[in-house]
Symmetry: C2
Subunit: 123 residues, 2 copies
DNA sequence: GCAATAGTGAAGCACATACTTCACCAATGG
DNA sequence: CCATTGGTGAAGTATGTGCTTCACTATTGC
């Protein structure tokens, strides 16, 4: 069930990871959760830029953040990476992709009706 | 050794996959090998554009191509996806990254304790 | 040979977007 | 209270790059 959704935003995940700064951000957050200021000083960019990047990374479920007081702590969100993994597997074994469409037809209980790219940012 | 190399060009792989057209190209090639003209007509872009994209995809080992006669057949190269998979794993389990050097000395199997949160690593 | 097809190279354009500055608000701490 | 710190919003800039057109070469087929 989540496979379909995961494959859909895998596009957004890849678009997000296309940027080197965001990849560096992911690298930092993979080591430890950090605040916006921490990330900004680590990457030598402004806090505004970090905020924009974090917003993008959150939209595709690569990062989660919560603001306590005036500090926003960002941490890695595994769901984005999961979606990416699914995306890779589907391309590494194309026959799975073909069987997957059959799987969608057989499993219409989840209400997956539009095969088009909805790009629903489930937020 | 190969892991380091794979992790290095994973950056290029992600940069390449950041583009929607190149992702569509990968999707097509995951289904079947195709010529430049085939891909061009499938994506409604010029053959020149496809040629440029294929060059980028080849540079990061996502695509291999060989020219027989006047036709260049492009097919998926698994090495790019492999590198991406390694990249993901390294971020999904950051402690593995930290213990990477120790990994050479100690052949630890599991039971690793993360300093951050205790998310169960079900792998 | 001639025409059509497949692909490549150079050059330019147009749009996207990453980053900045400026201004502002909210929380912390002396 | 005032200063500092952490973060956000708006707006502008500028660099990158995806795609095109034009020109050209090299195969294929009649």
């Amino acid at each position: 069930m989540t496979e379909v959704a995961a494959r859909l935003d895998a596009n957004q995940v890849l678009a997000a990871l296309g940027d080197a700064t965001r990849r560096a951000l992911i690298d930092l957050l993979a080591q430890s959760p950090s605040s916006i200021s921490d990330l900004a000083s680590a990457l030598n960019v402004t806090k505004t830029a970090i905020g924009q990047h974090v917003a993008i990374l959150e939209a595709c479920h690569l990062v989660v953040s919560q603001k306590t007081g005036r500090v926003r702590i960002c941490r890695l969100d595994h769901r984005g990476l999961d979606a990416l993994q699914v995306w890779i597997e589907a391309r590494r074994h194309p026959w799975v992709e073909k069987l997957d469409r059959l799987d969608d037809l057989l499993e219409e209980e989840d209400g997956v009706s539009s095969p088009n790219d909805g790009t629903t940012a489930g937020v």
